[in-house]
């Protein structure tokens, strides 16, 4: 009998430690695991390195985690957001480090980390400031930059449905970074709108096989970042 379900978001993130690297799923608000992030704020871990495509908006979810000064460094492709001043303020005041990575390179680095590939070559960013200091190499007459795989201690991910073995399916474009972050993290935590018995998800449509997922927690009615921001919510 295998059962990866935990009862609450708090339980799901209880062992995140100071200095941990945490991948946080989502592209914009789609797929942002807000309840897990809020549980992490409550939990109190500090000096985190966060790997995420964006840095959140308003003062909820990821932006709230940053605002609470729990994050020492972000590895990110697009930290700017129309309606958030949290990251810009922290960055300008030198309170947060940024490793800016092209979006596709970020995705591939995460996938490589999960796939046991320590390094690979990509044409993206060659000749730009984002390739400065990195090794480049020619293959078949074209120049590529070497990029390293990325791993994490934890990944916080939002799915649609998960089963007790940790198999996950996602909802539309909320899939984005979830499947690859689950691969790259030692402990992948998935919040899903429903948690079902093994066998209820067709094996042909599973997106994240359970081997990549360590904990699942049911959050039946997850909040949406834009709605919280529109309502003026600030967490906590």
């Amino acid at each position: 009998m295998i059962n990866k379900q935990v009862s609450t978001p708090a339980e799901a993130v209880a062992d995140v430690f100071d200095g941990a690297t945490v991948m946080v799923g989502g592209f914009g608000e789609a797929g942002s695991p807000i309840e897990l992030i809020h549980a992490l704020i409550d939990q109190g871990a500090r000096r985190l390195t966060v790997v995420s495509n964006n840095c959140g908006s308003g003062e909820v979810g990821l932006a709230a985690l940053l605002k609470a000064e729990r994050v020492a460094k972000v590895i990110c492709s697009f930290p700017r957001t129309a309606n958030s001043t949290v990251f810009p303020d922290l960055y300008r005041s030198g309170k947060i480090e940024l490793e800016l990575t092209p979006q596709g390179t970020l995705a591939e680095r995460i996938r490589a980390g999960g796939a046991g590939i320590p390094a690979f070559f990509t044409p993206a960013a060659v000749g730009t400031p984002l390739a400065e200091g990195k090794e480049t190499r020619e293959f078949d007459g074209k120049t590529y930059v070497m990029e390293r795989g990325l791993k994490a201690d934890f990944a916080l991910i939002k799915g649609r449905t998960a089963d007790l073995h940790g198999n996950v399916v996602y909802n539309k474009t909320a899939r984005n970074f979830g499947p690859i972050m689950a691969m790259a993290a030692k402990v992948a935590v998935v919040q899903a709108e429903s948690v079902v018995e093994p066998g209820e998800i067709d094996p042909e449509v599973v997106v994240s096989p359970g081997i990549f997922v360590n904990r699942v927690v049911e959050v039946a009615h997850p909040a949406h970042e834009s709605e919280l921001v529109a309502a003026g919510v600030c967490y906590p």
Binding site: Y91, P102, G104, A124, T128, K172, A174, R175
Partner: protein
């Protein structure tokens, strides 16, 4: 030389419409945020394009009705979209495999500067106070088969955006194939900028004066 106005040359919509004429039926297309997005409105009757958005959807459809948006169905500009019949969702590594692997036929982007050798600068002014953010632009220009820029010919201050060499931080080296502006359509060739077509009512000298490098006449 006075700053250009919308009264001379093509409007944003006309630029998008002009570009849309040049995309073959069945193309897989990624449209950047801003003027590039307008291209989808002007695809000629009888042609079907398949739109890729790098956050994980192929077969993107138009925006939904006001109030019908789904926060989990958005495009790379983080706006609500829809999915057409024949669409597919996928994760980010797969999405950028489509880009990096040369599977997307055309990408249309905005630009801050395009150099005569095809270099593009479109992600950062390089100013000390700016918050750096790059998104998928570097991957798109490095991987997509053809990369078109759609932009005003000059900045609001009247400075040329088509330049001898970029002064802003680069997005990619020698990556742009063609530029559509309010004044002209211009190819990037081995010899540099080459006129394809002038906008209605615009003459060659007018464009050359507003271009930061030599412009070859159309052949």
């Amino acid at each position: 030389m006075s700053p250009q106005t919308q009264e001379i040359g093509r409007t944003r919509e006309q630029m998008a419409q002009r570009l849309a004429q040049d995309i073959p039926n069945g193309s897989y297309v990624n449209l950047g945020i801003g003027i590039p997005e307008l291209v989808a409105r002007f695809v000629p009757e009888g042609r079907t394009l398949i739109y890729h958005t790098e956050n994980g959807l192929l077969g993107m459809g138009p925006s939904p009705e006001e109030g019908k948006g789904d926060p989990e169905l958005i495009n790379a500009g983080k706006r609500y979209v829809t999915a057409n019949p024949g669409a597919a969702y996928f994760h980010h590594a797969d999405s950028f495999s489509m880009i990096r692997g040369g599977h997307i036929d055309l990408c249309v982007l905005g630009a801050m500067q395009v150099a005569q050798n095809g270099d593009l600068a479109n992600w950062s002014t390089g100013e000390p106070g700016a918050i750096p953010a790059v998104g998928g632009a570097m991957d798109l220009v490095a991987g997509v088969k053809s990369v078109y820029v759609i932009t005003q010919h000059c900045t609001k201050e009247g400075e040329p955006k088509l330049v001898e060499s970029c002064t802003y931080p680069l997005t990619g080296l020698g990556v742009i194939n063609r530029v559509y502006t309010d004044l002209a359509v211009i190819d990037i060739t081995r010899e540099g900028f080459k006129l394809v077509e002038l906008s209605p009512g615009i003459d060659f000298d007018y464009v050359q004066q507003r271009t930061g490098a030599p412009l070859l006449p159309s052949s």
